[in-house]
């Protein structure tokens, strides 16, 4: 690869257009405790390292904090932690800017005046908790504990979600929701396999990786875990080269590192998957044995009433021939033939789908189509295939007796459950949640707790969700920062930042082994903040003995100890330790693992906190029975689970009749009829004909979920790939730009049916001609001095559309027009 001197010089040329940006202020007020500053200046300079878990996103990487005289000054990856193996991402490296952020909430706050007034008064911890407890007691006294809701924005499986769930159940509310999309995203696997879990992929043993919009190196659940694997795949001294093919509307980080990038129209990934299935079936490139013995609904079949049903094969063969699919997707028919043949002929090959595939109104169906390719390849439990990781042997929280009030409250219908037939597989739908609360239907919500996630910044129904927050009489936020969402809170009970608190995480989704990570304080809390988990224990003590009984722990730290004691007793796995790096490959080849021995639980705990975590690299070979918990006990191309859900919906809305069935399917926006509904199929995304361009968003490693925006280092690095700093941009194909008279670095208006935004154009040959893309993360209207007022939030012009089945936001379902801003 030859790089010319002018390539280097290009780096020097600064941007020209002057863009009005907010002021970049530096605080002169020193809010960091005096003694810390003194220590930093005069301390003896003794270096120590502490292991903990990064909390910048939900990937759960192990990190090592370098402390000088106890003050954290540097972060590196924990080389023995199995998820990231010493690797880090840019966001992780800016963690100290979270801890020392000048915009932290330093004590509990009580809002003065109207919501969103931005005026706050301090309140003591005791007064704040008493005020909340009194309201909660009052609700229980009138038999309405279900009118309390809890929105938890963390997407990380661990102890905290169990902790909150236990509290809410003991209190008597069915309204605890994780607003992240993890549970919703399991919908396709629930339908096809009856499994409520995301799969992991054995990329290391795969020779051909076909990714449907899955930006696993950048936007996935654990990008650094996959980066490590990618690096192994590219280590020429080890394997024969694995080919990675990325299907995506733009060149994402994953596409840039793939061997082949295949541009595709947004929202049509499912059609392409079925087009590939067509070739695999037609050319007999599928796993005959698996299909014959372990799948259901592949061929046409007859039920016990003697009715013949459509099979996957007939549906694909008659509807998804490459020429037809090519028309839908924009992928040439010969490309479809080629990738299908490569896929079928490589031993082994694996198919992944995420982001592009799932972020649309047809996401669940598209992901079903993508995952059926794994079934055609017989990829389950196979080297280089798809597998499911076991849960670690952790103790459940102790059982408790809910009192009568709680039992009554818990029996109420959850408020986020759709009142009509919408989103039948949603674990949490923000659309239903918002609508129901605004209509007091089936009951009003009096208290809302918010923990992590800043949902208002991310949600498509921004206006309605804000109205909901305004409407609820008492909104309590645990945010350590004032975010867009907590601007609407009545009380802020600031949580510690993740470098000051205890927590426990386990099994980051899609990571390929069982593991537990311990997050521990690396510094005494800088301010008067408290761990949200401890605050919940305190609240439970204040409310009622029966609630307090559910969380019989002195502190959250004790609760973590309680939960991992079972890990120690199980004798399984081992605490992560030195020397595993060399056995990294060994483990992946499923060799044995020596189980650690510890003399006592205290010794185990000491080592666990010192080293940062526990893991069990042995992947249990699973029976197909465990993999397919469907009515047929097989992989169901024809999802009987889904058929049952739809039948139930029909029953509850007026009973089985052709008219009623039609009504239900129509209200679900499902376009096909008959057996096709329950088979993986392509649903066209409803779009505006008068808008010429697809509009998509993407996330960056420098920002992840919009939550690194209050860190100056990440704001500066935000668009390092295109040399845009502190600013958003829109990627436009040069040919498209020419058509609209747009030049590089000029501002353009992007107009959707919802609204318009002004963004700087960056011409990029790595995007489809009919697509424009704006990165997500900037455009904050709150969230501190470094976040507020920089860049643009693309979510604000997206249509309020959701996946018709699991209720996830459809981030790629909007079309726009663009024009040069003058």
């Amino acid at each position: 690869m030859e790089i010319k001197r002018r390539d280097f010089l290009k780096l020097l040329s600064g941007a020209s257009g002057a863009v009005a940006l907010g002021t970049y202020g530096c605080s002169d007020i020193i809010d960091v405790p005096e003694k810390l500053i003194e220590l930093a200046q005069k301390g003896p300079g003794i270096v120590t390292w502490t292991n903990t878990i990064c909390g910048q996103c939900s990937a759960g990487c192990g990190i090592k904090i370098r402390r000088i005289d106890g003050i954290p000054v540097y972060i590196k990856g924990n080389p023995t932690y199995p998820v990231n193996r010493g690797g880090m991402c840019p966001s992780g490296h800016s963690s100290l800017e979270v801890l020392f952020n000048p915009d932290r909430v330093k004590e509990p706050l009580k809002r003065i005046g109207l919501k969103e007034s931005g005026k706050w008064d301090s309140i003591s911890w005791n007064d704040a908790l008493q005020l909340i407890a009194d309201k909660m007691i009052e609700l229980r006294n009138v038999g309405k504990p279900h009118q309390v809701a809890f929105l938890d924005g963390s997407d990380q499986p661990g102890l905290m979600n169990k902790h909150i769930a236990q509290f809410m159940k003991a209190y008597g509310s069915p309204n605890y929701y994780q607003s992240g999309q993890l549970k919703n995203n399991t919908a396709p696997y629930r339908l096809l396999q009856g499994i409520n879990q995301l799969p992991s992929y054995d990329l290391l043993n795969s020779k051909y990786i076909l990714s449907f919009g899955s930006n696993f190196l950048e936007e996935g659940y654990s990008p650094i875990y996959y980066t490590k694997i990618y690096s192994h795949l590219r280590d020429s001294s080890e394997h024969g080269r694995t080919r990675i093919v990325q299907i995506d509307s733009r060149i994402s980080l994953t596409a840039a590192n793939a061997d082949l990038w295949i541009p595709i129209r947004p929202g049509t990934y499912g059609a392409l998957a079925l087009g590939i299935a067509f070739v695999l079936i037609r050319e007999k490139l599928f796993d005959d044995n698996f299909i014959k013995n372990y799948s259901f609904g592949f061929n046409d079949w007859t039920d016990n009433k003697g009715i013949t049903h459509l099979g996957f094969r007939s549906n694909v063969i008659s509807n998804y021939y490459p020429e037809q699919v090519s028309k839908i997707t924009g992928v040439p028919a010969e490309t479809i033939l080629k990738i299908a043949r490569d896929l079928g002929n490589s031993r082994s090959s694996v198919v992944l789908g995420d982001q592009g595939t799932v972020d649309n109104t047809n996401g669940t169906f598209s992901q079903m189509a993508v995952h059926s390719l794994n079934a055609l390849l017989g990829n389950f439990g196979k080297d280089g295939g798809v597998y499911f990781v076991d849960l670690p042997p952790l103790a459940d929280l102790p059982p408790f007796d809910e009192d009568e009030i709680a039992a009554l409250g818990n029996s109420k219908k959850p408020v986020a459950q759709s009142l009509d037939t919408n989103y039948p597989l949603a674990d949490f739908s923000i659309d239903s949640f918002t609508k129901n609360i605004l209509n007091d239907d089936p009951y009003p919500i009096d208290i809302l707790f918010l923990y992590k996630g800043n949902p208002l910044f991310k949600t498509l129904n921004h206006h309605d969700f804000a109205e909901t927050l305004k409407k609820i009489p008492l909104v309590v936020s645990f945010d350590p920062f004032i975010t867009e969402t907590s601007e609407y809170a009545d009380i802020i009970l600031p949580d510690h930042t993740f470098l000051e608190k205890w927590d426990k995480f386990c099994n980051t989704p899609t990571v390929g082994f069982t593991h537990v990570g311990i997050q521990q304080p690396v510094i005494e809390p800088l301010f008067s903040t408290r761990n949200a988990a401890d605050v919940i224990i305190e609240l439970s003590n204040k409310i009622d003995q029966s609630v307090a009984n559910a969380l019989p722990f002195q502190s959250y730290e004790n609760e973590i100890r309680f939960s991992v004691e079972k890990l120690y007793n199980s004798g399984e796995g081992a605490i992560i330790s030195e020397g595993v790096k060399s056995s990294w490959l060994e483990y992946l080849q499923q060799r044995g693992w020596q189980i650690g021995r510890y003399n006592s639980f205290d010794e185990f705990w000491k080592l666990l906190t010192r080293n940062g975590g526990w893991w069990n690299p042995i992947r249990q070979t699973k029976d197909y029975k465990e993999l397919f918990k469907t009515p047929s006990g097989k992989f169901e191309f024809y999802s009987q689970n889904f058929a049952n859900i739809i039948n139930k919906l029909i029953e509850t809305t007026g009973g089985e009749s052709p008219e009623n069935r039609e009504k239900v399917l129509h209200s679900l926006n499902i376009s096909v009829r008959g057996d096709k509904v329950f088979l993986p199929h392509y649903e066209a995304v409803p779009i505006e004909e008068n808008m010429p361009l697809y509009f998509i968003t993407f996330k960056l490693l420098t920002n992840r979920d919009g939550q690194s925006s209050n860190q100056p280092m990440m704001q500066e690095m935000f668009g390092y790939t295109v040399r845009e700093y502190w600013n958003s941009w829109v990627e436009i194909n040069p040919e498209t730009a020419q058509e609209y008279g747009i030049e590089d670095k000029k501002d353009v208006w992007i107009e959707s049916p919802i609204g318009s935004i002004k963004v700087r154009a960056r011409l990029n040959p790595g995007i489809m001609k009919e697509v424009v893309a704006v990165p997500f993360g900037l455009g904050h209207t709150s969230y501190g001095r470094y976040a507020k007022g920089y860049g643009t939030n693309p979510i604000t012009i997206l249509k309020n559309k959701y996946d018709m089945i699991n209720g996830n936001p459809a981030l790629q379902a909007t079309k726009v027009k663009i024009s040069l801003a003058t």
Binding site: M1, I3, F8, C26, M88, I262, N733, M768
Partner: protein, 227 residues
């Protein structure tokens, strides 16, 4: 005498940008205000280049991390009027901030645009000053700075080795970027040591140097299969 060099495997590098962040954090590199970044005054000791190749839809993108190349024949030192930038016996091209008069001749001379200039006094929110790395001094307005291969780490590593009366081990001295790279794409070590990883990789058929024709003899060596 060791000769320190870096090998960056572009086949492994994904372009995630972690090296840039690790470097900024380790070396207290100033965060530049939005207005100043618009002027092209952003400061990265480790920068990332994006190279596009081919016509749509057969477009290839490669991201290339770019530190200071610590040339064996560095053009920058020849133009420095005050010997603020020089090459030391171990091949590290140093930048001595207290000597630098800010004439920026070296920036013009460097064909790799590896150097950056402090146009303003670096500013930090007081809170962030607490967590600055005390091992690296803060620069002042009007001086040029650049990647040092984390030479302050070498000071400590050398001392450790001397205290134990031994040679520096391969992989003991690692700059922040190399240590944190999630793709293990950045190797660092002694080019004079035939047992070292960088020596072996520098002999790889995939190895090449940027702008080799200029005779700068950079000690950052890239590996790539792509032509």
């Amino acid at each position: 005498m060791p000769k320190w060099a870096m090998v960056i495997d572009l086949d492994k590098c994904t372009g995630c940008g972690d090296c840039m962040a690790a470097c900024k954090l380790e070396n207290n590199v100033a965060i530049v205000s939005p207005e100043q970044t618009e002027e092209g005054r952003v400061m990265f000791w480790m920068d990332m280049m994006s190279v596009y190749d081919g016509e749509y839809p057969h477009v290839k993108v490669k991201r290339i991390p770019k530190p200071c190349f610590h040339c064996d024949n560095p053009p920058c030192i020849k133009v420095c009027p005050v010997h603020a930038t020089y090459i030391n016996p171990e091949g590290l091209v140093g930048q001595i901030y207290h000597r630098c008069i800010g004439c920026r001749y070296c920036m013009a001379a460097c064909p790799y645009t590896a150097k950056v200039f402090n146009w303003y006094e670096p500013e930090w929110a007081e809170e962030f000053k607490t967590c600055l790395n005390p091992d690296v001094s803060l620069r002042m307005k009007g001086v040029v700075e650049k990647c040092s291969f984390c030479a302050h780490r070498l000071q400590v590593v050398k001392e450790d080795a001397d205290a134990e009366d031994r040679e520096i081990m391969d992989g003991e001295y690692m700059p922040a970027c190399s240590e944190s790279c999630p793709a293990d794409a950045i190797y660092f070590g002694d080019l004079e040591n035939r047992e070292s990883k960088v020596f072996k990789l520098s002999r790889s058929p995939r190895a090449f140097k940027e702008l080799e024709g200029l005779g700068t003899e950079p000690k950052v060596i890239y590996l790539s299969k792509r032509e």
